[in-house]
Symmetry: C2
Subunit: 181 residues, 2 copies
């Protein structure tokens, strides 16, 4: 096994081990690592989904509905940044096959609030489990501050004008989950 603690490109870097931004020089390694990491990150769920004749689009819908029970269709569209026609297709399949149900809003009866069924929750958790195993393994290879560093780096990559919204979505889902459990 290669020495993963030795920077692959250490000979390019100053002694501190940290990158000093060279103007005009792209950060090729981070760009490529993001590509490879994301490719592998979604590949295991993709395989599971393929056996159910589902795709990555179904995963995203199932994931966010599971995390935010009772979410409005409009909220989901905003998170996924796709059109309602695109959502409609995959959502219909998830509903028809019993992974997701829609309930009329109590206050506003125009709303079709989204919930996973127990079948849907089982699948959502199975898929999250695959990704969690990967992330946990990765964090395990890092030092004690790995989780915090990863979280901060990923957060900082998000569009700054969107970041607060994203963090709110995540925090809200965490809070709701904690209350249910």
């Amino acid at each position: 096994m290669a020495d993963l603690n030795a920077p692959a490109t250490s000979d390019l870097r100053p002694s501190g081990g940290d990158r000093i931004a060279r103007q005009d020089e792209p950060v090729w390694d981070i760009i490529e690592l993001l590509f490879f990491a994301y490719r592998d990150f979604v590949s295991e769920p993709d395989d599971v989904l393929a056996k159910l004749s589902f795709g990555r689009a179904h995963h995203r819908v199932l994931h966010f509905v599971n995390r935010n029970p009772g979410m409005k269709v409009a909220e989901l569209l905003d998170i996924l940044k796709i059109t309602k026609q695109s959502l409609g297709r995959v959502l219909k399949q998830l509903v028809d096959q019993g992974y997701v149900v829609q309930k009329e809003g109590a206050n506003d009866r125009r709303q079709r609030l989204l919930y996973v069924t127990s079948k849907g929750e089982t699948l959502a958790i199975k898929l999250a489990g695959l990704q969690t195993a990967r992330v946990a393994r990765a964090l395990g290879e890092l030092g004690p501050n790995g989780y915090e560093a990863a979280r901060r780096f990923l957060t900082a990559l998000i569009d700054s004008d969107n970041r607060d919204g994203v963090l709110r979505i995540i925090a809200r889902a965490d809070r709701a989950r904690r209350q249910r459990s």
Copy 2:
């Protein structure tokens, strides 16, 4: 602006600020941050490409050919993990429009080695510049060890049976680049 240094879910975590792996509990935040971060990471290049009637597939081809001049078609297929039919379509468009050229291999004349033209290099660097600006901004928000931590985290996310290969590809491209410049 929200306090980005305060963990969004700090109330969930033990005092050290670091995550202690709770068995059976998915790392929802990292999973979702990866989704949002990657979505934004590719969005600016996507916009530029759309004006040229290109898509993300063209970006990936152009990127890796630019980084690895003289690369074989088979290598590219292996990196992208797509079929040659899928590659063929986008590669043909890049060649037809003068972004990429193919040269017969000197040793093995069956090979069609891939190179970017200066037009291709210009576009590749423009796209990498957008992503570099985002990464540099993100790293700038982190501490002095941010770059190293990000690199290690992303590396650790990659399939372990593939990681050495990926690191070799990146290191090789870096070495070749250094020699050219």
